[in-house]
Subunit: 188 residues, 2 copies
């Protein structure tokens, strides 16, 4: 955990996702950690904050979430592009040392027993709101955000500061097949 990691008020946690970044999803169950990339994650409610994320049935991370009932969503940066592509294109099913290969380092925060990915700009600890129909028919998972943190070098005072931060902190917005856009300039 970096000295720049600070809690985000739950009433403002939706701001971590409202601009539509590609995220990393992580989970832990019975001593197994996994991390995957997901472009289809979205805020769902303000307070208590909730979010949706689409998780393919083939992913090991999904299985860990279904078993543990919790997961973390984190916002990766331009500096982590290689890591994001690696965890997005490899499954723990076929590459047991996937996280090492991807260069993922994780840390725990606040007793949440979730593998949080170091180097991200924000982290949201979620409890799964079980919705079996959505999960099986639509691959759609709903989480309630129970804690959130951000790196104060790019998110502080309840909002993003991409415009003041080094470019490497910009969020990634996936298009298809390893092509992304970085978030751009502030518009008022």
């Amino acid at each position: 955990m970096s000295p720049f990691t600070a809690p985000v008020e739950l009433s403002r946690a939706y701001r971590l996702l409202t601009h539509g970044p590609t995220v990393l999803v992580s989970a832990r169950h019975a001593g197994v950690d996994d991390v995957m990339a997901a472009a289809w994650a979205c805020a769902l409610d303000f307070d208590p904050p909730k979010l949706t994320v689409v998780l393919d049935k083939a992913s090991r991370t999904r299985e860990l979430i279904e078993r543990s009932g919790r997961f973390a969503i984190q916002v990766p940066t331009v500096a982590q592009l290689g890591l994001v592509n690696h965890v997005g294109n490899h499954s723990l099913h076929e590459q047991p040392d996937k996280l090492v290969q991807a260069g993922v380092e994780t840390f725990d925060l606040d007793g949440k027993d979730l593998p949080l990915v170091a180097g991200c700009s924000a982290w949201l600890a979620c409890e799964l709101i079980a919705e079996p129909h959505n999960q099986s028919v639509h691959d759609l998972f709903i989480g309630e955000v129970v804690a959130a943190w951000a790196d104060t070098r790019v998110f502080r005072d309840g909002r993003w500061h991409f415009e003041d931060a080094d470019h490497s902190w910009r969020s990634l917005h996936h298009v298809a097949g390893g092509h992304y856009y970085a978030i751009g300039e502030a518009i008022e």
Copy 2:
């Protein structure tokens, strides 16, 4: 309809939303058209393409969607910032001439009987997949995309070309309270 409006293959329609833009949602029922802004819209499936969008119970657009069973999602641009803020901050319930006040011009395409907002970069015609539990408990609506179009000046050959287009074509990514980021540069 502009001469630059061209169909997008349904198998690539997810690419219109995967980078996480704020969208406009429009609908028509019994001669009433409405348009609202929504930051919480997300791709849900590839083929057939589906998407989710969160619609507040207070919005008239939601009511039109529930009655007509269809809606359009469109991707507005930096050039449309004033329009997006207007339709996002006013309700047709209180401002009957909201669309005129916002400067919204609409057009029809392909017999879909949906008010498509002129000047956007992309349009997705959707049929509501009725999920009463999601709609009432989570304000979450699921649509199947039945047709999609884009402005070829910024989306062609199945992908965005923000980097070659005028800056005014960039998508908007809402943060909170009228603050947005534009999409930035391509990252490979």
